[in-house]
């Protein structure tokens, strides 16, 4: 027997179904757009879900001012191409206090990203936010619902999460409560890459190997993306052929040495690699084993 639909077809249909379902109960939805490959796929799915209309919600980029320059470029291009409104939010307090990843460690993520996201959602009164998290990324995410409920203070209580049966989602909520919806929950990293290839989805060039100026810090290979990077006395960036498996704030995102310049080569490296995707991110490491879960309870995505 042959299935008419492949696993990618089924994942696509499921994600589109989820996005359309949100429109039934949401008063003011928004799509969190981080410019990474998962966001790129999510945006593409949204365009498919509502075609020929543009997706009926804006894109929200919670900016830290420390993203790679190439990310800002693609962000503006994709917003224009999709016909969606782009809202860029930067936590004014973090800006005023000059919070940065070099001097403030975990506070940087907390203030710009976690607090910034809460502020942006409150400011605009968004009641549903699409996010690009996947269940295969990390152990505690394997149990995350597709519709994840947050209290009025954006907290996540594992006991308050609702069972999700069949493809029936309960999106009802009280005033002040909000829902994070993860339409690509069931996609794996390989699915994402393969779908990008199949659908020809634009992604940030940083995912492909190129000679880039780098330095080594705490075992991570960091790219010196602009002049704000504080070099140590006598330190000069070394040009290496590198690429990134995930993208975030450039001073916090480790590169891997690579010669993969095409999608096929990137996928090939990914399949033959021996370390997991999130290894390149510092964020998972502070707080030990259950740090991701703790962050989620605090309101980090």
């Amino acid at each position: 027997m042959t299935d008419t639909l492949t696993h990618l077809d089924r994942l696509e249909a499921e994600s589109i179904h989820i996005m359309r379902e949100v429109m039934a109960d949401a008063a003011k939805p928004v799509m969190l757009y981080s410019v990474g490959k998962d966001s790129a796929v999510m945006l593409h799915l949204a365009r498919k879900a509502f075609y020929p209309s543009p997706p009926p919600f804006p894109l929200l980029h919670v900016d830290t001012t420390w993203k790679f320059r190439a990310m800002y470029e693609l962000r503006d291009r994709m917003a224009a191409e999709s016909g969606m409104e782009l809202i860029v939010y930067r936590n004014p307090e973090a800006k005023e206090r000059g919070i940065n990843p070099f001097d403030h460690g975990p506070l940087h993520t907390d203030m710009w990203k976690t607090e910034g996201l809460k502020q942006a959602l409150d400011l605009h009164g968004f009641d549903v936010a699409f996010g690009g998290a996947r269940r295969d990324e990390e152990k505690s995410r394997a149990k995350e619902r597709i519709f994840s409920f947050r209290t009025a203070t954006h907290g996540w209580d594992p006991k308050q999460q609702r069972p999700e049966l069949w493809n029936l989602y309960n999106a009802r909520k009280a005033k002040g409560e909000s829902i994070r919806v993860f339409p690509i929950s069931n996609w794996t990293e390989l699915d994402i890459w393969q779908y990008i290839a199949r659908e020809n989805i634009p992604i940030v060039p940083l995912y492909f190997a190129a000679p880039r100026p780098t330095v080594t810090r705490d075992g991570l290979l960091l790219m010196v993306d602009d002049e704000r990077f504080p070099l140590l006395p006598g330190e000069t960036p070394v040009e290496r052929s590198v690429r990134f498996r995930t993208l975030g704030c450039y001073p916090l995102t480790g590169a891997v040495e690579s010669e993969a310049t095409t999608l096929s080569e990137v996928i090939q490296e990914m399949l033959l690699t021996t370390t997991s995707e999130r290894q390149g991110r510092i964020i998972d490491k502070d707080g030990g084993d259950a740090s991701m879960e703790k962050k989620k309870q605090e309101g980090y995505f």
Binding site: T4, L5, T6, L11, E265
Partner: protein, 633 residues
């Protein structure tokens, strides 16, 4: 450790494009693993992830360290640690929720629902099973078929999972003994056929050692296969079956970018659709044809079950979220009263009569649930009397919705037959339900019309069909008056039928006893028979004590408006006991007769019967005349 099934590294390294071309064509199988912590379920899933190279070196290093620190397998790798996610669970050593895992083999991609836990087991398993094509039932070879095996199998079957794998685990601990495996398989077969599982695949495995997981094990030369992965890769699922069913598309969203375009977005629940197909919009029943199947990548010539598409229609018909677009000549039914199996999922027990939100496909309506007809004990599968359902309780109930919904039985279509109930106050999802059938057709929009209608049958008899439902205490005079009524009707050339309780129990209801559940079923069947007889144009008379309001209301709900006449033969208990025509009160008083209505079992008097007969104030003749006046007047 690596197995031939997964040795893909060479291909990936040598010809990545060939590998990807192959990978892109893979189908998807969703399955669920059922078992308790001790059955080695997490170990099996960890093993599947490990063997399919879903574990990276950094995770493996962490796993090895964790295994030594908190593992339960001594110095060996504890695969269970790979899948036990939330912090609280790891501390307690148990998993408490549904988790989804992913792995890929040469032929398929898999999503595994891991649904462990103890108290919350039913709720979690039902959730995980709702999206599964296949269930792996784990049995500890040392323990055999246990109560929990029965529970897991019952739930898998309840949720309509067609493929059951019986994984007899820990074969390494019973010396890979064929006799043990055969004995367990035989015991399971006997039980499975009892609950309606007609076939299953039994596989002797060791999740810990890896036997018969990816390839046949040398330790079990007597087992000819298939290995677990081989079976999972080859079992037929989803697609073709759903596509063969009639076309249904629940409308999720109306796409209206400008005045010239109106598209209906949704995911095909079943069947296939092409431009030019004749379709019917439910519940309105309007027909039109499909113009286009619109997608971002261009119009499609055909869409199949499972695809999310946007349809445009040839005519300007009313159609909005909640409507179902279906094939014109074979549309689903519309109704507002159903029998359903309900799984209660909230800490707060079900409250019969309370209004909940009911969500089925894209329809959301207000619904009330009546007291269960019976509850099912998931361990013994016995039917028990119940007034409500508690957390993890499963029962058969009647559900009434405030407006008609488009539905199919869950057995026919999971999308149009599966629903959730939502608490209106807390917004929590409190129950999952599976529709069986409608109890009353609210709108006979698509009822297959027979050429001779019930009205024509009634017209021929020159009468209006009705059901005269006599209720009252034993010895109140029901049978006497009912008999008089029928005699009078007969003299008036009316076609009638008196359904006698004892007679029915000799035939149709011979299999029923006198437990509460059986008494309810007795009444339900009598109601159904009476309904058929009214369809045939008859005036039906029944005389049953029928002590409970809920049962009488159930029968009322089966009939058309105005056709059910509740006749309360109101005789005080003292008077009925004084008459004691059959000597039953005497027996009940002396304790020889249990559960006797009025003595040690309650009689719930009708609140607003169509006719009330006070037998202390009138003769049976007068009572019969009064009833006939009400019927014909």
């Amino acid at each position: 450790m690596t197995d031939p099934v997964y040795v893909t590294d060479a291909l990936i390294a040598e010809d990545i494009d060939a590998y990807l071309a192959g990978h892109e064509k893979k189908s998807l199988l969703r399955f669920i693993t059922c078992g308790s912590v001790d059955d080695g379920k997490s170990t099996l899933i960890g093993r599947l992830l490990y063997d399919s190279k879903m574990i990276f070196e950094d995770q493996l290093a962490a796993l090895e360290a964790d295994s030594k620190r908190v593992g339960t397998q001594g110095q060996e790798i504890d695969f269970a640690l790979l899948v036990d996610g939330l912090a609280a669970e790891r501390e307690q050593g148990i998993t408490i929720d549904v988790a989804y895992r992913f792995f890929t083999t040469e032929k398929r991609k898999f999503i595994v629902a891991d649904t462990p836990g103890h108290e919350q087991y039913t709720r979690n398993m039902v959730t995980g099973a709702s999206t599964a094509d296949l269930a792996v039932i784990l049995i500890d070879a040392r323990k055999g078929v246990l109560t929990q095996t029965r529970r897991h199998s019952f739930l898998a079957h309840l949720l309509g999972i067609r493929h059951i794998v019986l994984a007899v685990n820990k074969m390494d601990l019973v010396g890979y003994d064929k006799a043990v495996f055969d004995r367990i398989t035989l015991a399971y077969r006997a039980f499975a056929s009892e609950i309606g599982i007609t076939h299953f695949t039994a596989i002797p495995i060791s999740g810990f050692k890896g036997d018969n997981i990816t390839a046949l094990s040398e330790n079990t030369p007597w087992f000819k296969g298939p290995a677990l992965i081989e079976h999972l890769e080859n079992v037929e699922v989803g697609g073709a079956t759903d596509e063969a069913k009639p076309f249904r598309l629940p409308v999720q969203w109306v796409n209206r970018p400008n005045l010239d375009f109106r598209g209906f977005a949704g995911q095909l629940a079943s069947g296939t659709v092409k431009p030019g197909d004749a379709v019917r919009i439910l519940p309105s029943g309007k027909t039109t044809t499909v113009s286009r199947i619109v997608t971002l990548g261009g119009d499609l010539n055909e869409a199949v079950a499972g695809q999310s598409v946007t349809l445009t229609l040839a005519d300007e018909v009313d159609c909005s979220r909640g409507d179902v677009i279906a094939t014109a000549d074979n549309p689903p039914e519309t109704a507002d009263q159903f029998e359903a199996t309900l799984v209660w999922m909230a800490d707060e027990a079900m409250i019969p009569g309370r209004a909940y939100w009911l969500k089925l496909a894209t329809q959301s309506v207000s619904a009330t649930v009546h007291a269960p007809k019976y509850e099912i004990n998931v361990n013994t599968l016995d039917h028990l009397a119940a007034k409500t359902l508690d957390l993890n309780g499963i029962g058969v109930v009647e559900v009434s919705t405030d407006k008609p919904i488009v539905f199919e039985s869950y057995a026919d279509n999971h999308t149009l037959g599966g629903f959730i109930l939502i608490d209106k106050l807390t917004n929590a999802t409190v129950a999952a339900g599976m529709l069986h059938f409608s109890l009353r057709r609210a709108q006979n929009v698509h009822w297959q019309a027979t050429d001779i209608s019930r009205d024509m049958r009634a017209d021929l008899k020159n009468q209006k069909p009705a059901l005269l439902w006599f209720t009252g205490l034993s010895g109140s005079g029901k049978s006497t008056i009912a008999n008089l009524v029928e005699k009078k009707l007969h003299r008036m050339n009316r076609h009638s039928f008196l359904l006698d309780g004892d007679n029915v129990r000799h035939g149709l209801n011979r299999d029923l006893g006198f437990t509460e559940a059986d008494r309810i079923e007795n009444i339900r069947r009598v109601g159904e028979v009476a309904k058929l007889m009214t369809d045939a144009g008859l005036i039906v008379i029944t005389a049953f004590i029928s002590p409970f309001r809920a049962e009488r209301e159930m029968v009322r709900s089966m009939l058309s408006e105005g056709e059910f006449l509740e006749i309360f033969i109101d005789t005080p208990l003292a008077e009925a006991e004084r008459r004691d025509v059959k000597g039953l009160y005497k027996k009940a008083r002396s304790g020889q007769l249990k559960n006797f209505t009025g003595i040690d079992s309650p009689y719930e008097a009708p609140e607003s019967p169509e006719v009330r007969i006070d037998t202390t104030a009138m003769t049976p003749e007068e009572a019969a005349d009064l009833i006939i006046d009400r019927l014909l007047g």
